[in-house]
């Protein structure tokens, strides 16, 4: 089947997204996104979508099953609340990449800005470069792999997500601590790196997670 091609200079976004929502299978090329918001948001089937150019906010938001490649940079909240499938970005990602995402794989080849993986709920995120401050804030579940450095307050108020960082961490947020890398963590990390197309030595990484000291408010209500 020939790939379907949409040109966002000619076809309104609403029409493109609507068509993608109804597509059962196939490959789609989207040209000239020119920073438009919500490109390929709400996909729900196992289609392949290539977005050729830079995207605005919420590209591939809430993705289900689809494999999306962004040949360019992505704006705020790329793949936010993704459920499954994958989103691969060849450039950099702005704030809140993969925010609240429940599943699937998000790969950012370049850097990701602040709040990467904020409130993540099961997604796997692999960042080729570094990540900004407040990343993995209140991260509940899933794995975040950072091949570069992490900004301030990494993993503040983190729950059960696991963070693997190769470079320097500017500072850890409340209740986030460095943890031992046991065999299962090396294996898990190796598998994640492989899925994203990297073959780093996992011994160079440090694992971070919750000290679980904020799990109870100690706020009683006695009379």
């Amino acid at each position: 089947m020939d790939p379907m091609i949409f040109d966002l200079e000619k076809t309104p976004l609403r029409e493109v997204n609507r068509t993608l929502h109804r597509l059962e299978a196939g490959t789609v090329q989207i040209q000239n996104p020119h920073g438009k918001h919500s490109v390929a948001a709400g996909l729900r089937t196992a289609i392949k979508v290539y977005i050729n150019g830079h995207c605005g906010y919420y590209a591939a938001g809430m993705n289900q099953l689809a494999d999306v490649v962004i040949n360019g940079n992505a704006g705020v909240g790329v793949a936010e609340n993704m459920m499954s499938g994958s989103v691969f970005i060849t450039g950099n990602a702005s704030q809140s990449a993969g925010a609240t995402a429940h599943g699937g794989l998000l790969v950012v080849t370049g850097d990701a800005a602040a709040r990467c993986g904020i409130s993540m709920k099961g997604v796997d995120i692999v960042v080729g470069g570094g990540i900004g401050h407040m990343s993995a804030f209140m991260a509940q579940a899933g794995r975040l792999v950072v091949r570069g450095d992490a900004g301030e307050a990494l993993g503040d108020s983190i729950y059960e997500a696991r963070l693997y960082v190769r470079g320097k961490v500017a500072s850890l947020g409340a209740d986030c601590i460095a943890k031992d890398m046991r065999d299962e963590h090396h294996a898990e990390l190796r598998a994640l790196l492989e899925r994203a197309g990297y073959d780093d030595d996992t011994a160079d990484y440090t694992r971070y997670g919750s000290a679980r000291q904020l799990y109870h408010f100690h706020a009683g209500n006695e009379y």
């Binding site: 976004l13 609403r14 997204n17 609507r18 929502h21 918001h37 919500s38 948001a41 709400g42 729900r44 605005g56 906010y57 919420y58 938001g61 809430m62 289900q64 705020v76 909240g77 936010e80 609340n81 459920m83 704030q95 809140s96 925010a99 609240t100 429940h102 709040r115 904020i118 409130s119 709920k121 099961g122 804030f137 209140m138 509940q140 579940a141 108020s157 729950y159 059960e160 799990y215 109870h216 408010f217 100690h218 706020a219 009683g220 209500n221 006695e222 009379y223």
Partner: protein, 440 residues
């Protein structure tokens, strides 16, 4: 107690007890319910019934419409409600699954909507709710695009009247296996809901977020924006600019499942003060009461009676939402559980420990034995009865004022009995033509 004892107005019994409690425990008080302090409210307004210059409608006989349409501005499928009283968002987690189902049943029986809450959509409430509004909250607990598509409308929550600027909390005793799984959190931990949305900040971002939600749902669903009343005039303007189809304004009396007492009693403004500000904002933008092209206003926070409903509509709301009153209708604070309330250190009529999970009425709990005390069918029937009474009461007042539809009530039908209420509601003090603060 001797007749000569005089209670201090400054240090009253509740205040003294609060100091003693704080001194004994070193922790602040968290509770449910809403503000308990006296505030200017709908009680301080009265209707001017028809007289020589106004013509009343015949009670019971002449039609007085109650239906409302919400969210026609952008959505392919606006919501048509038979009555202007909706059920506010209350989370599964805060409430039992049976309570959520009962709310859906009661609301559907009289043709109105119910709303999910922080914690996602349950099949029980979706199944029993004819019109279900799906909340989009900072925590995004349980948020998923399938439920978004299953919903009849989407409500982006910026805040609640009980705690504008506050996040949420659900204490560990209410996080059972099902609640934990829906929220992707470990069982039994105290769980915090964020106070800020994770992927947008400010009104310009909100515009883009609203557009995203529309794109994901193919522009089918009305999008509401809910705000806790504080800077209401500006917030409503910004919400409308951002693209809201419906604005929900929740005043400080509004209920909560678990918030610090200091927050509930001291942050936000009363419903009566917020409502005219919201209406002014909508009027200035040319979207107030403009039919399908307009933006509708839902007001909540301390709505108890059909008179409250009628007064809110007269001041310019298109509909109201109820939380606490709906729980009471289901059986919350019922005297039949008096002994158990007392065993918990409370009493029927005073119980506010919704955070605690030991609700004798089985409503604000995840304990299977307690939750089983509420029969969703019976609870739904009681709620439907209550909603019918609210509607009939509002109609009674509207007919007396000569209105063929409850939303035809207007500020001109109202006066205030206190100066404060006159200033806030922007209606004259009874017997005068004085509206404090208005430049005449």
């Amino acid at each position: 107690m001797s007749d000569g004892l005089r209670e201090s107005a400054t240090f009253d019994r509740a205040t003294i007890h609060a100091i003693q409690r704080a001194a004994a425990t070193g922790v602040y008080d968290i509770r449910g319910w809403g503000a308990k302090r006296a505030l200017p409210h709908f009680d301080d307004l009265l209707f001017l019934g028809a007289s020589m210059s106004r013509y009343p409608l015949e009670g019971y006989r002449e039609a007085c419409g109650t239906d409302v349409v919400l969210g026609g501005r952008n959505a392919a499928y606006p919501i048509h409600l038979d009555i202007p009283v909706t059920i506010a968002g209350m989370s599964f987690g805060a409430l039992s699954a049976q309570a959520k189902e009962a709310l859906g049943r009661g609301a559907s029986e009289v043709g109105t909507s119910t709303t999910t809450g922080d914690g996602g959509m349950t099949p029980e409430e979706r199944g029993q709710s004819k019109h279900l509004v799906y909340q989009y909250l900072p925590s995004r607990y349980g948020m998923n695009p399938d439920d978004l598509r299953r919903a009849d409308a989407i409500e982006i929550v910026l805040g609640q009247g009980a705690k504008p600027g506050g996040g949420g909390m659900l204490l560990g005793q209410k996080i059972n296996a099902r609640v934990a799984a829906m929220r992707t959190l470990p069982q039994g931990i105290d769980q915090r809901s964020a106070s800020r949305h994770p992927d947008w900040t400010g009104p310009d971002d909100l515009t883009i977020k609203i557009q995203e939600l529309r794109e994901i749902t193919d522009w089918e669903k009305p999008i509401y924006v809910k705000i806790g009343a504080s800077r209401t005039y500006y917030d409503v303007k910004l919400a409308v600019h951002a693209g809201a189809d419906v604005v929900v304004v929740d005043g400080m009396q509004g209920g909560t499942a678990a918030t610090q007492d200091v927050f509930i009693e001291n942050v936000g403004i009363p419903t009566l003060a917020a409502l005219p500000q919201a209406v002014q904002a909508l009027q200035e933008l040319g979207v107030h009461r403009q039919g399908a092209k307009g933006v509708q206003l839902i007001v909540s926070g301390g709505i108890r009676t059909g008179a409250d409903v009628a007064k809110a509509l007269a001041l310019g709301a298109d509909a109201v939402a109820i939380g606490t009153a709906a729980l009471i209708a289901l059986g919350d604070n019922d005297p039949r559980w008096s002994a158990e309330y007392e065993a918990l250190g409370s009493a029927a009529g005073f119980y506010d420990d919704f955070q605690d999970g030991r609700d004798p009425a089985g409503i604000t709990t995840q304990d299977p034995e307690l939750a089983a005390r509420l029969d969703p069918v019976e609870g739904g029937r009681r709620l439907a009865n209550y909603l019918r009474v609210l509607t009939m009461e509002a109609q009674t007042v509207a007919r007396a004022c000569g209105k063929a539809h409850v939303t035809h009530l207007e500020p001109e039908d109202l006066v205030a009995v206190t100066i404060e209420a006159a200033a806030m509601a922007r209606v004259p003090l009874a017997g005068t033509d004085w509206i404090p603060g208005s430049a005449r």
